[in-house]
Assembly symmetry: C2
Homo-oligomer: 318 residues x 2
């Protein structure tokens, strides 16, 4: 823990979600000098967030000789009510250039650090919230992303409409969480476990189910049970049941997003999951462009850090 700080260390960016914390030592030249990981928000509720952060990045601070505390910019569920401290929500429509001026300062015991939580976004009609994805969207814009519709697949998939630097509207689909609950804890789990033990997914079953659900989303509640009935009556492999369940849910999600034909959609997230969404979009006639989720978080944190410096200077000038 008494090693030297990573070369050129200027600030620390932290992507702290429900299940994982990922910390990045950022160099003055904008590169990642080192990275570390730690426990997610869920395993720390009511506990010592600062201790968990120092457990991950403490080694970088051993020889810290900066004249000021080291800025730490944290995004994700760490800023939720169950997290370290609740960060605010900014309303939509919202210019993402304003995130860095609306950070919530966290009072740390370790005075070598100056920690800030990134605000989330809130929408009131219909009600919706995001925490973490706003940083990826800021990263996408900072890298000159051109799509006006961005999907961030995951446990709770976000779809955001962009105009210029603004998020004008967004919606959240519980697709990932429903897939997990239904495939592991519902009657459908019996069909998932049939046949070979691998966790594969049948591509044809996925494609057929996306089409079915996209064109007849009102049938979703019944179609889900058909996954079990087909498993019982045809003794199908679990890979077919998994493909069908995933396709039914993603098809219903796509039906709800009111996509305009010909629109280009940017997909930001974990590559395999984004690829499934790109396949789903292609089946309904749309192009999806996959962007790496980690790169977008880093670009977003860097953009917010620049905004923070800008606002910090202006505050100093007053």
């Amino acid at each position: 823990m008494d090693s030297l700080p990573p070369a050129g260390l200027a600030w620390i960016g932290v992507d702290w979600g429900t299940s994982h914390m990922r910390a990045y030592a950022m160099a003055e030249d904008g590169g990642v000098a080192a990275q570390a990981s730690g426990p997610g928000m869920r395993s720390l509720v009511g506990g010592d967030f600062e201790g968990a952060l120092l457990g991950a990045i403490g080694g970088w601070l051993g020889g810290w000789r900066g004249q000021r505390p080291l800025p730490v910019v944290l995004c994700g569920m760490v800023g939720s009510r169950q997290g370290w401290q609740e960060a605010r929500y900014l309303p939509v429509p919202q210019d993402l250039g304003a995130l860095g001026g609306a950070l919530t300062a966290v009072d740390t015991r370790d005075k070598r650090l100056q920690a800030f939580l990134v605000p989330g976004l809130a929408q009131h009609d219909p009600f919706d919230v995001m925490r973490g994805e706003e940083t990826q969207l800021a990263g996408y814009l900072a890298q000159d992303g051109q799509a006006d519709l961005v999907c961030l697949p995951g446990t709770h998939a976000k779809w955001a409409q962009l105009r210029g630097n603004r998020v004008t509207h967004f919606t959240t689909a519980m697709t990932g969480e429903l897939f997990e609950l239904l495939s592991e804890r519902s009657i459908l789990a019996l069909s998932m476990r049939q046949g070979s033990a691998d966790e594969g997914m049948d591509a044809q079953a996925f494609a057929d189910a996306v089409q079915q659900s996209y064109h007849a989303p009102q049938g979703l509640m019944s179609a889900l049970f058909s996954v079990r009935a087909e498993g019982l009556l045809r003794h199908e492999d679990g890979a077919r049941a998994r493909g069908r369940l995933s396709g039914l849910l993603i098809g219903a999600e796509l039906a709800g997003v009111r996509l305009c034909a010909g629109r280009r959609v940017a997909l930001i997230g974990e590559p395999a999951l984004c690829a499934a969404y790109r396949d789903g979009l292609a089946l309904v006639g749309l192009d999806g462009e996959v962007m790496d989720g980690r790169s977008m978080v880093l670009a977003g944190l860097a953009s917010i850090h620049r905004q923070l410096l800008h606002h910090g200077l202006r505050v100093a000038e007053v």
Copy 2:
């Protein structure tokens, strides 16, 4: 356990579902002479079903003096692959008068009993199965039910189209299981627990959500998350979240059943749940007639027992 058998005992009917077993001592005059309960199928998988049955009804057999074994007619998930023994599925369209001629005999160690499993129904386009509800439908027809659409709400709600004595088509919606998973094990659980600790449901939130979901079922995947967002942004009570979740799911279910306006729907099941469905149907302009689920099971088992006697006599004549 050595008490006398209930007066007039002629046969035993058993409604043996996933979570409960309910046994009825049926008198010659058609009345229920005694009743008992026992563990559901789920807690017995791979175990001693006969022992569990005797644990419930053994007291009725102590002084059994019949010249033949006592007929026991069992319906429900006890006849599934995970149950006592797998009973067959009959295909739809299916005359429910044929159930008693397609029973699966179970070889019991206790020769005072002659046990029979009621067959389920299977449909191949789209795939669907039922076990237990076919007996309630037979009971409904035996009591001169006139509706041509019957809904049996529950963990897996069944909707059956009837024509004369036949089931021509049916569909299953996972509404009850989804409500349980989402309200107890998903992110939405946080909103269910807000405010007062009672388990009530806000009627206005339910009504609004039924309408929303019935008229725009393609929005279901997003609307579900709005329950959480509303809880976060408006600090609403759990009763509102429960009403909204229930309404969204039931509204989406109703949208999928392709109801014809003006159609009368019979609702068979647990009274409080049937009342929620009747309210939902009324909101979309349809009349629902609530029938008690237990009465329908008893009428169905009695009808199947009569069919068994009829078939038994014919077999004896050969």
